[in-house]
Symmetry: C2
Subunit: 243 residues, 2 copies
């Protein structure tokens, strides 16, 4: 399992992902699920992945390889003219990989399935955020729903629905995602620390603040224990039921 979230803020884009992959509960490892590309002054692109690890690694490798083969230049992350074209490239690559892995196998394509979030900004245009389906098609984040989650989305969703506001600062938004991740980590063993984070400030066209949050991160601990108490206080403040 996996948990990744991307928020579209007025201040920019915020990405966070966990790093646990598992086959059953007795075969767990740590793998990066967040990948960044940038051409300073021109574009920043971040991709987060959920699903079959062989599939997602193949997709990322293909995208990377295409970026360095000059003949294919137009079809690369670093040369695509718009974020829409970037999303299309990622979607097509994902569809291709799933098809080729499933070919000649008895298992259905769903075994090799994966979902991705693609976000970034290209000079002269707004930052954009896409959710890519295994079929290769995609949707874009809108004013009404300016965020995407993939993987184990349910435990951490209520707090995002209640507290997210695109006008919030990066500092508040990171706090929100820590709370959302904490609820998910507590409930699903297949989501695990460390977390990867990328905070991209709008119109800077360079990789923003990248950081890896280890299990012993002091601020994460403050949020994790503080949120339990804050929730209980909030709960106590509501009026009790009366028979």
């Amino acid at each position: 399992m996996t948990y990744c979230v991307a928020l579209r803020l007025d201040q920019g884009l915020l990405f966070m992902s966990d790093t646990r992959t598992n086959a059953g509960v007795d075969n767990i490892s740590t793998f990066k699920k967040m990948f960044n590309w940038s051409v300073e002054g021109d574009r920043v692109i971040t991709i987060m992945t959920a699903g079959n690890l062989a599939t997602t690694q193949a997709v990322i490798s293909l995208l990377d390889e295409r970026s360095v083969v000059p003949a294919d230049r137009k079809q690369t992350l670093l040369a695509a003219p718009t974020m829409f074209q970037v999303a299309r490239l990622v979607g097509d690559t994902l569809k291709e990989v799933i098809h080729s892995q499933a070919e000649g196998q008895q298992e259905s394509e769903s075994t090799f399935s994966a979902t991705m979030i693609v976000g970034g900004q290209i000079r002269g245009m707004e930052p954009r955020l896409f959710l890519i389906y295994p079929e290769g098609n995609f949707i874009e984040a809108s004013e009404e729903t300016p965020f995407f989650q993939i993987g184990e989305t349910k435990y951490g969703r209520p707090i995002i629905l209640r507290a997210f506001d695109p006008t919030m600062s990066f500092e508040e938004a990171i706090k929100l995602l820590y709370v959302s991740f904490d609820s998910t980590l507590k409930a699903n063993l297949a989501v695990g620390m460390p977390l990867d984070m990328h905070a991209y400030k709008i119109d800077t066209f360079e990789t923003g603040i990248l950081s890896r949050v280890p299990p012993e991160d002091p601020y994460f601990k403050v949020i994790s224990s503080g949120w339990g108490e804050a929730l209980k206080e909030a709960f106590d403040k509501l009026p009790d039921f009366k028979f």
Copy 2:
């Protein structure tokens, strides 16, 4: 989909269920998913159901029918000597029904699957709470995990994990379940009002307070809107992230 929760409190047992059933999103109806039996002075039994409606209705009908056919008396909800035997009876009936419905069909048994929560108290013994699997076997609520959820369990789970305490009063516990149901209702259209509730006070051996909570219930509205604000306040009180 469905959402049902049962809590084992020091004061007794608390059951809550939604009433929405659906086949797709364009075929929804309201059906009871909570069923109560009692013999005053001797026993109180509550069953809540999730899964295939044809299966769960058949199970409840069979359990009801057995209760009135004198020849089968020992194998009835109303005559079983212990709550363990009650759980076994429910589990066996559920397994039987799923098998018979799946027989000769192309679909796998999982199509006809269902899960149930059984709780109650028989004179001379403690109140007990069981979760019955489609295979007919079951587990019992323990000191460490004195509650069960079935159906769409994820959205409403974090608040129960954080705030539930078996020593809490019925009044607080009902508030807790309202919050948990509110988070679930907001996130999954296949869980819907009205809610059914049964609060059974320990050692009374009679049906406790039964009530149906309609969408316009004023206390539910207070909790629903109050919780949003309380969450935001709690969230604001946590320290922001610092770069």
